[in-house]
Assembly symmetry: none
Homo-oligomer: 199 residues x 2
DNA sequence: TACAGTAGTGAACATTCGTTCTGTCGTGGG
DNA sequence: CCCACGACAGAACGAATGTTCACTACTGTA
């Protein structure tokens, strides 16, 4: 090969990712050409072939439409400590890549996202408005953060042992420890957390 | 109205969600008709109008293609309090895998994931080992959490104004406020956060 | 310097797409 | 009972789509 230009394709890929984030769909060849400044759709077609070959796109199983591939959702991962060269070097740093969903969700069929209400766990760094990743299971251990069902309501607390009985311990001194009289119904265990800051 | 049937539309919506989970795209009217058993595309068009009116679909800002709306990805657990039926009712089909990434990343080409080292922001609920979502930009405002470059190292702090000058304020009383003598180089602004709890 | 591989051009083509219109059928309210 | 309304059928239409092919421009290598 003589004139392959990976940088240019990386730039094109960035624009396609931005388009997808905004429109939640892959543009048509016509619009790809407009976005990239091509004058012909064939160039867009070849670009997609290249990116598909690199794993960023696939064909839909149903029809032949383009669909984001695995690597399309990869995000660059920058290390804070190791800062050697110019700051812009870090972008392409070491090819370290990060899949958000894969990082957080390991068993999709058993995983639920639950928005957090209230600040009873604020000392554990779980704020009102955060979204916790919950794996549905009854098997929780003391020390786990769990979503339990108390008085027909969901509540997020730490599962703790107190004199051989399970209790729900908030991480906020303003809240009391919950000592269920009957049995304690566990909805799931918190396995992750997601927070979005205002724009 | 005389023959509106919300149940039937709910079933249709379920099939559309399944299709989207598999193909990561919304089918054409033609294929919708096949999926639902319609004999005409017009029926599919009207179905989409109904579902769009209910908030499950939208038109893409760019062209007029159909695009999943807000409620399309809505997880059946949004309301923690309202717990009516059996807990297994809450289970959902798949299709959730992309929610997190979509929730956090809005401008993919400018977004970097940065692991957090240290506990200088612990009072803001940002712990050691968390991963922050950083939008690369120099344009930060006071009050933003920023990743700045100080002494050739990354540091995560709140950007604050002190007597008309920008300073970096930790959220941990054990750390001092950083008052850069020269100018302050901003790497990016924190727009989100991801945390994973040990399994 | 000559060559080979790649990115992009420009036009033609059949196919598929979404839209629109008229019409049929069943149901629920007056 | 009748009538209005909503779901769906069915066909027609222009616009947009993806594919293909021959061609040009550029660039690094032998």
């Amino acid at each position: 090969m003589s004139a392959a230009n990976p940088e240019r394709d990386a730039d094109y890929l960035g624009r396609l990712r931005d388009y997808y984030a905004e429109n939640r769909r892959i543009p048509s060849f016509q619009r790809i050409a407009e976005l990239m400044g091509f004058a012909s759709k064939a160039a867009a077609s070849k670009l997609m072939d290249r990116l598909a070959h690199a794993g960023f796109f696939e064909r839909a199983p149903d029809d032949d439409a383009w669909v984001p591939g695995e690597r399309f959702f990869e995000r660059p991962l920058a290390e804070m400590a190791v800062r050697a060269g110019a700051p812009d070097m870090i972008e392409a740093s070491q090819g370290q890549l990060f899949l958000v969903d894969r990082y957080l969700v390991r068993q999709p069929s058993r995983t639920v996202m639950v928005p957090v209400k209230g600040d009873s766990m604020i000392d554990a760094g779980i704020h009102d408005g955060d979204i916790v990743v919950v794996v549905r299971t009854k098997a929780a251990n003391a020390g786990d953060f769990v979503v339990a069902i108390v008085d027909n309501e969901f509540t997020l607390k730490e599962l703790a042992l107190e004199r051989g009985k399970f209790v729900l311990k908030p991480h906020n001194p303003a809240y009391p420890i919950i000592r269920p009289q009957g049995e304690l119904e566990i909805f799931g265990v918190v396995s992750g957390l997601v927070r979005r800051y205002r724009d």
